[in-house]
Amino acid sequence: MITIALPKGRLSSQTLNILKSTGLTSIDIDEDSRKLVFIDNIKNYKFILVKPFDVPTYVEYGIADIGVVGKDVLMEVNKKVYEILDFKIGKCYLAIAGPKGKKEIIYSKNKIRVASKFQNISFEYFKEAFNQEVEIINLNGSVELAPILGLSDLIIDIVESGRTLEENNLEVYDKLYDISARMIINRVSLKLKKKAIDEVIQTIERWLDNDSKILQQY
């Protein structure tokens, strides 16, 4: 049996839709129920629902053979897993943002404070890109609040439509990395369950190829 870890939230239903339209599975996952494990006995898949930041951990330890998770999380946790497929869903980008119209003033400060859920990404970025002292403040959510309330000068966060920023009087200063959902695979599973895992990869790859061709036609 192949175990697939899905990130709780919007990405899990989108991923499941893809898996269903490729014919890999036909089960429904009811996210409102408290169930965390769903088994497809016909196709021999087990789906587990975990927090996005935990997906790479489950896959690295081999508890899950396959995982689906955003590139932002993968960059942040940097686990030893194979990263084979771009699902091309959950598209967004990581950006530096701050109060509207204050980019120049803030970038020229001697010391900059940055709030983010992505501590490691922030650290790596500022180490390379900025000369002045940067303090990174780790938050777990509602990062947009930090510059409004004066906890930080800037934030590094994922931006999808930019509406949250807009509504909080913030704007994107610099776009850093494009993000989308990726399929990751445990190192041992890829070798020891090669046949079953190759089938999943190839099926999805074929589907993604066709799908993008269909999209291009319109």
């Binding site: 690295e60 508890i63 897993v81 084979i84 497929l85 771009d86 190192r187």
Partner: protein, 295 residues
């Protein structure tokens, strides 16, 4: 010269699953005055025999060669810094990362194609054919020939079924100079055994020797043996005062039995057996009667 060791090892970074700062490791090394491919074969066979002796069912020894990648990177004049970034991307089989890298450093389409293929060059012996198709330089071709010779030698002695190939497996290029290999066991998400050829290390100590070896992580091994249910055929347990009888039973079992050293009730023993999927219990009661139970 052949060396073996077993003991504590230390590392500062413990980023990955299965990593501990202080851990137990056992390993072997073989040093030769001149490189000999026979040493590669010998070391691999010892690695296979070591894993075989664990009695586990689903495992593999994955082999590769760092020079396959090096050959491409040298022929494309990729500098040292980017060399390592690319190595890590390929080792992670990061398809998208490889693509972004080649865009950023303006690699040719052909180069991108090669590195993407490299990330998927794993499997059984048919991979040799695929590897030869993309090898466009002497160094890469030579590494295929070397691996093929090693694989064929193992096949002749009947060890090839335990081998899988991965040309995209890339360990530290500063340390390893040729053959590299990793042992994987089902149920443990991270490697149990790791090794390779390192012909440059000894010259750092003013002594030119060619070397190949491997190490097994003992803590990792214990993790898997705990989970490997079929490892024990039966449980031996005893009531107070019958420790000596239990010891003689465990000696008779020749490693096939698990001794529960705390005197626990038969109900608890049954629970443990169920938990570990062990079907048979030998229980020594305090009057010395030995009961054999099937569960």
């Amino acid at each position: 010269m052949r060396v073996y060791y077993s003991g504590k090892a230390y590392q500062y970074l413990t980023d990955n699953a299965g990593d501990l700062r202080e851990y137990y490791q056992t390993g072997i090394e073989k040093f030769d005055t001149n490189y000999s491919i026979d040493s590669d074969v010998e070391i691999l066979i010892i690695a296979i025999e070591s894993l075989l002796s664990l009695g586990l069912s689903n495992w593999t020894l994955d082999i590769g060669d760092v020079n396959f990648f090096k050959g491409f990177a040298y022929s494309m004049n990729i500098d040292e810094e980017h060399f390592d970034i690319l190595r890590k991307l390929i080792d992670k089989k990061d398809y998208i990362g490889i693509e972004n890298f080649s865009k950023k450093y303006e690699l040719s389409k052909e180069a991108l194609n090669i590195f993407r293929k490299l990330a998927r060059l794993y499997g059984k012996e048919d991979i040799f054919y695929e590897a030869k198709k993309i090898a466009n330089n002497h160094m890469s071709l030579e590494s295929i020939e070397r691996l093929e010779y090693i694989y064929n030698s193992l096949e002749k002695v009947g060890y090839h079924e335990y081998i899988t190939l991965d040309f995209g497996m890339l360990k530290s290029l500063n340390y390893y100079t040729g053959l590299i290999f990793t042992g994987y066991i089902e149920g443990l998400g991270y490697p149990i055994l790791s090794g390779g050829r390192y012909d440059n290390l000894c010259s750092s100590f003013d002594c030119k020797l060619s070397a190949c070896g491997f190490a097994i992580g003992l803590d990792r091994l214990l993790n898997i043996l705990e989970y490997a249910n079929h490892y024990y055929e039966y449980i031996i347990a005893y009531e107070g005062g019958r420790f000596i009888e239990a010891l003689s039973e465990i000696k008779k079992s020749e490693g096939k039995a698990l001794l529960l050293s705390d005197c626990i009730s038969i109900e608890e023993v049954k629970k443990k057996a169920k938990l570990n999927n062990i079907k048979k219990i030998i229980y020594i009661k305090n009057d010395g009667v030995i009961c054999v139970l099937e569960v």
